[in-house]
Assembly symmetry: C2
Homo-oligomer: 526 residues x 2
């Protein structure tokens, strides 16, 4: 049995005053209900409204329970290439700081222990009061964190007050969306409405598609790649090295052979390398993950060129399966003029998109659409297990379809189009402001992800919740990110850089290898 001490590296230079929510027994704290919303609905309005009401717009300092040890960016954490020992990371200015984390330890210092109620708690109401106090403080910290968030592609601006009346129900769409179970408390009629909308967006007829609402982007990728594998059991998985980590996780879980394909500096798949890798395995069918927006650089793989490369290498349409990972841009691209179209009129097998990203949703979710003929093949293969089991998960969150249905109905195509235009415009604004401030930055066409040098100060990174990888960080401009917020961010970054680089006496790092010479503004390249 392998027993291996697993250590990953991270900066940990503070003695970490982690969030504290002391649950003092018998403390006489009473629950302060949230302030009423301006709109007068039962469930108060959007985050912005709440912020205004709490006068939090002017609050500058981090809340006391903000965790100062959050350092590792999530979408693509650094690989632990030295898995047993402690690794030092060289920072700018030659300073080296030790990084160490033992998996499964560090959050314990901050966790909110579950405690056994006292016998008289029901009488005194003390426990209710304590819990209300914890929740009120937690809510305040969420407001602060939501306000400063820039790094992850989540639209934090939503108002689902009208749906709060449904929170009492255990809504479960267990199994297939198109076949009802005997469990009556479900939301399939909403789920299928949402799926129809997406199938239409990606140009697949109602009677030719199958799909479901997933728990997250990863589930969409796991499903798409599994369908590909069931269609081609001996297929080889091809994915660019900047694909989401769930793609490689799928390869390992499913015991598939996988070829990592190089990327261009933009982050797009390098189709020359793809061609060469395909040539190595001409005898085996190809299963390809195409990124409609990579995690870090927001790069969109050229779907048409991928298909052309396959055809030119001798792969006929019955010998490949393309899964499009459209986590974020899968929903933005259709609203961008001139963007290459993701469409089932092309020889693709499945498309997935996240619901909590551009749409915005309290909990992660996603949409997975595939061809009915493929899911029939999948179901055929698993039928000896349980005939209709075509989803990855069994019980499925019935609230997520309601959130998506509600937003799609309220905004419609036109609403999304406006929001996409706003995001792209604001992303261009951010890139421009960074460049004019001497910060090298890259913004791919069709993308709202602005990539730039990683800030030297981890506290700054944490405050703005930037996602980082190696020497770069990014901001994903979502509908809730305003020009004002971007200005605040750039102004603070400029101030901080003056300190980090001692008003230009020290060199800022070169990021040409990450974002290209044309975008880099280091001493060598500006």
């Amino acid at each position: 049995m392998m027993v291996h001490k697993w250590v990953i590296t991270r900066i940990s230079d503070s003695s970490s005053s982690l969030p504290q929510y002391p649950i003092t027994k018998k403390a006489a704290i009473h629950f302060a209900p949230p302030p009423p919303s301006k709109k007068g609905s039962k469930m108060a309005g959007s985050i912005d409204v709440m912020l205004r009401e709490l006068n939090l717009e002017t609050v500058e300092s981090l809340p006391e329970d903000f965790d100062p040890t959050t350092v590792i960016s999530d979408p693509l954490p650094a690989v632990a290439d030295d898995c047993c020992g402690v690794k030092g990371e060289k920072l700018v200015n030659g300073k080296e700081k030790p990084r160490e984390i033992v998996l499964g330890r560090n959050v314990h210092t901050s966790c909110l222990e579950v405690t056994e109620p006292d016998d008289d708690d029901e009488v005194t109401g003390d426990r209710e009061a304590q819990m209300a106090s914890v929740l009120a403080r937690y809510r305040k910290s969420l407001l602060e964190r939501t306000k400063h968030h820039l790094g992850y592609p989540y639209n934090l601006d939503f108002d689902y007050g009208a749906l709060s009346q449904l929170q009492h129900f255990s809504i479960n769409n267990l199994g297939d969306p198109f076949i009802e179970s005997n469990y009556g408390v479900h939301s399939r009629q909403f789920e299928v409405g949402v799926l129809d909308w997406f199938a239409r967006l990606w140009e697949l007829e109602k009677n030719e598609y199958w799909g479901y609402i997933t728990n997250c982007g990863t589930e969409g990728n796991l499903h798409g790649i599994l369908v590909g594998r069931e269609v081609f059991p001996d297929g080889i998985l091809y994915a660019s090295c900047e694909s989401h980590y769930s793609v490689f996780k799928a390869a390992r879980m499913y015991r598939m052979d996988c070829e990592k394909v190089n990327t261009l500096i933009s982050g797009e798949i390098d189709c020359e390398d793809f061609r060469a890798k395909l040539a190595l395995h001409k005898d085996k069918p190809a299963i390809i993950n195409v990124n409609i927006g990579t995690t870090v650089k927001g790069a969109v793989d050229d779907l048409d060129l991928v298909i052309k490369t396959l055809e030119e290498t001798g792969f006929t349409h019955d010998r490949f399966y393309i899964h499009c990972d459209g986590a974020l841009f899968g929903l933005m691209m259709p609203f961008v003029k001139l963007a290459p179209k993701v469409s089932f009129k092309k020889p693709i097998g499945s498309v997935s998109v996240s619901g909590h990203k551009f749409v915005g949703c309290p909990m992660p979710c996603g949409v997975q659409i595939t061809r009915l003929q493929h899911i029939n093949a999948l179901s055929r293969n698993v039928e000896y297990l349980a005939s209709r089991d075509a989803t990855i998960m069994g019980s499925r969150n019935g609230h997520a379809p309601l959130f998506l249905w509600y937003t799609l109905n309220r905004k419609g195509y036109r609403g999304f189009q406006k929001e996409v235009q706003k995001c792209l415009r604001n992303a261009h604004y951010l890139r421009g402001r960074l460049a004019s401030s001497g910060v090298g930055a890259m913004l791919n066409e069709l993308s709202s992800t602005v990539v730039f040098e990683r800030p030297q100060d981890e506290e700054f990174t944490r405050k703005w919740q930037l996602a980082c990888q190696g020497n770069i960080a990014h901001v994903v401009v979502m509908p809730n990110i305003t020009i004002d917020k971007l200005d605040d961010f750039v102004n603070e970054l400029v101030e901080k850089r003056a300190i980090w680089y001692e008003n230009g006496r020290l060199k800022s790092p070169c990021v040409a290898s990450e974002i290209g010479e044309a975008n880099c503004l280091c001493v060598l390249h500006k």
Copy 2:
């Protein structure tokens, strides 16, 4: 490429007046907010309170949008052994009805289409009113469905009003629960509090466990079995044939060899057959799924006997991995005197339990606990992908930990103990009432699942949302199921049986092969 028409069988004898929510444009419907709760909190109280307020307790008829085509039970749907054609199912009294469903078709007739807003919708407010009307009707149908639900192991009695203030936030615990990402809007401090509680329940020290809150029982099984496979890459998976379908799905997804083991009449694993199957593969390590409550019969596999069988067949502790699927009873058993203990003091590798079942939660979720040493092995294996990627999903619902934390704190061990006792008592009551009414029924010791003959009338099955498999149906007695509700159910069943079996002139079916001769009350066995 396999293109296969996938057909499963089902009774479909009505021309199916499916739920209709016509979204009439410009209809002058105004939003009726839910009535205020007695408790005066912003988010009204429990389902029962709402039912009283709506005077729905006395409503007998099904809501007009109740779907009369829901026929197939979900936990273990019948296998489609004739996957291309239409199969007839022989019902009692010699009547035969055709069954047919084409996957991906039938819900479309009832779905709530997403429609594009008109330009003037914002001005007129018509769209908001239409949507509010749809939601109000949907809420009413959920109340009705919740009231009559008996068949699935979901505790529908919860009041999370205090948490409604958090619904505005996009809470995401992406990645590992113990390592924070830079995304600040998370609930890891609550998640780890919940995990600690479960680790203590199953007797594993804080510094020796790893775990996370999953999306459902299936994710727990997928994770437990994946950990087992990573620890023993060439291990054989053993699971009783009454295991949840996700176990066999895992085997297929992970390309593992799988041995199905026979069961006793109770539904427990047959350890004599297990011994024989183990003897066939003595050269390979064993990965065993142990059911702490099977889906259909609520049978608890004898963990101690499974371990003894392994030991006696020559499998030392470093050559097997046991995953305990405790979907429902994993949380009930610890509170039952004399029940065999699920404990990490025994040589087990992981335990999973569902959160939306006994605890009760608006959306499906689960808890997965494993040994830190195993997850280290797993992470070691996948580290070249993304160092800390040890969960199946990537983005993870941050609301589920809040719901679980809240309930655990409010109820505590003592609260759960009381509820478990009540459920077991009420299950015995139900079994007794069925038997005295001439309905053969089985109730396993340690279980609150009462198994009995499948009702002959699908409308009755749908009304009470019974889960069925073959000739049997079951009721899972959960905390929200009262004696009154059970009485109503039995009284109606007795009335209906008088009609189905023409006051005893026709024979009721023999279910001895499903529930044992001792429990069957057919003409032969009573």
